[in-house]
């Protein structure tokens, strides 16, 4: 790709300074073309979700598919959102988010720092054990884990869904943060130790500020993970007053019949705040660079 760029640039034969800027603008143009083409593909599921959410049960499955709802079933939205206690589900989901997010952010950062930077006996072994928890299919630990929570008297509550996040926040997040922490120059820690700092200080004042993008990634993943989690709530929650949004969504699908239009309208409603949140959060990726001065 680049050689093509170079050849084009050579054919243009500008003076040296201009040469660079032409090449740059060609490159920019190419980036735009690729990004826009990809965007169209990526927007597809979302368009489809929106168009389905405004159709009646019949039109959704018409073959060949139709893109424009006829008529626009705006009523799907109020009907879907009032046919189940959405506000309760939303509150429950937010409660779980709050407990899980705080637990995950706090304990995974500490653990990842320990695995990436601090030396202690058995570190590798514990880390390996942690990683291996991701490798055993959850389907087989489901029942023993359920029995554990039963013996703790925590069924039909948020406890099984939230408390584990306070114990490291999951192997995935620890592993992710560890990878990032390991790329931060070690001299920074050592300089701080020379000044008499202790590990917590190093973590708070050096590692965390330099890892903002990674922390945001963990935040986003955790949030979306809770938002879309399905099997856990199905197994542990019984009463409707504890249901989460993802359960409310599933309830539009029965064994014999499904309210597809409602399902799609509810899906669209549930997805939109996440999209907004992500849109806001990803800006911090860019702010992460401002500190690269220290990294040099």
């Amino acid at each position: 790709m680049n050689s093509v760029l170079e050849r084009t640039a050579v054919r243009v034969r500008p003076r040296h300074g201009a040469h660079r800027s032409v090449r740059l603008s060609i490159w920019k143009g190419l980036v735009y073309v690729i990004l826009i083409a990809g965007s169209i593909l990526m927007l597809f599921p979302f368009f489809w979700l929106l168009r389905s959410s405004l159709m009646d049960n019949g039109q959704i499955f018409v073959f060949p598919p139709e893109w424009i709802p006829r008529p626009f079933m705006w009523s799907n939205y109020p009907n879907a959102l009032t046919s189940v206690p959405f506000l309760t589900f939303f509150t429950n989901t937010m409660m779980i988010e709050l407990f899980t997010m705080s637990g995950t952010m706090l304990t995974s950062v500490m653990a990842a720092y320990s695995f990436a930077r601090l030396k202690w006996n058995g570190r590798s072994l514990i880390f390996a054990a942690l990683l291996s928890t991701m490798m055993l299919p959850y389907a087989v630990t489901l029942i023993p884990t359920f029995m554990l929570w039963k013996s703790l008297g925590a069924l039909d509550s948020f406890v099984p869904l939230t408390v584990p996040s306070w114990f490291g926040g999951g192997a995935f997040n620890i592993f992710l943060l560890r990878q990032f922490f390991m790329t931060i120059p070690k001299d920074l820690d050592e300089a701080a130790y020379m000044d008499g700092a202790r590990p917590p200080t190093v973590l708070l004042h050096i590692i965390v500020p330099l890892s903002k993008p990674a922390l945001i990634v963990v935040g986003i993943f955790t949030f979306i993970g809770v938002w879309n989690e399905f099997l856990g709530p199905v197994i542990y929650l019984n009463s409707e007053k504890h249901f989460t949004l993802s359960l409310g969504l599933a309830a539009f699908q029965g064994l014999y019949n499904a309210q597809w239009g409602y399902l799609m309208a509810a899906s669209a409603t549930i997805v939109s705040p996440i999209i907004g949140l992500f849109f806001l959060a990803q800006r911090y990726f860019i702010e992460g660079i401002t500190l690269t001065g220290i990294k040099g």
């Binding site: 979700l49 073959f63 630990t141």
Partner: protein
């Protein structure tokens, strides 16, 4: 490795253990018990709802000697992994690289590329079901219009898994984000050094970007490995393992054993075999990582 001042190693040890205490406790409380239990269950003939007897390694013997679906499902899973891991990593890396350029509307682009990862899987799968529909679907309509040969997609025995691999490229959003965060962390002075030497964009990319990204690439590789070997949803929602078991993925097979046939003993044995397979593969990746992953600490993972 330089060792710091004498008190430092003790300081590191104490704080290190303290900071790692939550996951250590979590392992002891929430994981060890259920894991040991599931291993024990794998050595019984337990069918949920009936009494069980201890059968030792019988389940494992049966799996290896009398269960044609074991090999079949393992093959489907490995096939899918080999197809989707490199493709997914490459695409995610390229997309992340493009999304890290200084172009206008970046926030919007990033959000768009992450969309498929946010849309609930049910909506996503419904969409793909009609994209793949051989008679009325979008893909064949496009191919027909272009005068190209059409396909049976997920409904053909030989094309089912390639179709799902194609579909998996939609779900690269998570890897893209991790790569993006990694790209943000590449020290700018390294780029400047290349520029001083008169190197162009390509040299920057090959000599700076890619090596600095190796820890993130490594992470995504390990995660894809663990993830694709446990592929489940596509079979569960879209294909039910068909046609003719072409998409009978391993975890879908054991899930069906456990929760449709209630044979939890047998399913647990299946799970432990998969666990060992993933474990060995991950170890191999870890062992080779020191050759190609660069950490600031000096390359030991």
């Amino acid at each position: 490795m330089k060792s710091g001042p004498t008190g430092l190693s003790r300081l590191e040890r104490n704080w290190g253990i303290l900071f790692a205490l939550p996951p250590i406790l979590g392992l002891c409380i929430f994981t060890v018990g259920p894991v040991i239990a599931s291993f024990f269950i794998s050595m019984t003939d337990w069918t949920i709802g009936s009494s069980w007897t201890f059968t030792g390694m019988d389940n494992y013997k049966t799996i290896f000697t009398e269960d044609p679906l074991f090999a079949k499902s393992l093959f489907a899973t490995v096939y899918y992994s080999i197809g989707s891991i490199p493709l997914g990593l490459l695409l995610a890396f390229l997309v992340a690289f493009l999304l890290n350029q200084k172009v206008r509307g970046l926030s919007v682009f990033r959000t768009i590329y992450y969309l498929p990862a946010i849309v609930p899987s049910l909506a996503n799968t419904m969409l793909w079901i009609w994209i793949f529909n051989p008679d009325f679907g979008l893909l064949n309509a496009v191919l027909k219009a272009a005068g190209l040969p059409t396909s049976q997609w997920i409904y053909g025995e030989s094309t089912a898994i390639p179709s799902l691999i194609l579909m998996s490229t939609w779900g690269i959003g998570n890897s893209v984000i991790i790569f993006l965060a990694g790209l943000q962390g590449v020290p700018s002075h390294l780029y400047e050094a290349v520029e001083v030497d008169g190197g162009g964009a390509w040299r920057k990319f090959i000599h700076i970007t890619v090596p600095s990204m190796t820890p993130t690439i490594f992470f995504n590789l390990v995660l894809s490995l663990i993830g694709t070997f446990q592929i489940f949803n596509e079979a569960y929602i879209m294909t039910q393992g068909g046609p003719n078991n072409a998409t009978l993925f391993y975890v879908f097979y054991l899930y069906r054993k456990a929760f449709t046939e209630s044979k939890i003993g047998y399913a647990s044995a299946l799970a432990w075999i998969l666990f060992l397979i993933i474990m060995v593969l991950t170890l191999v990746v870890f062992k080779t990582s020191s050759k190609w992953v660069y950490y600031e600490e000096g390359g030991k993972s």
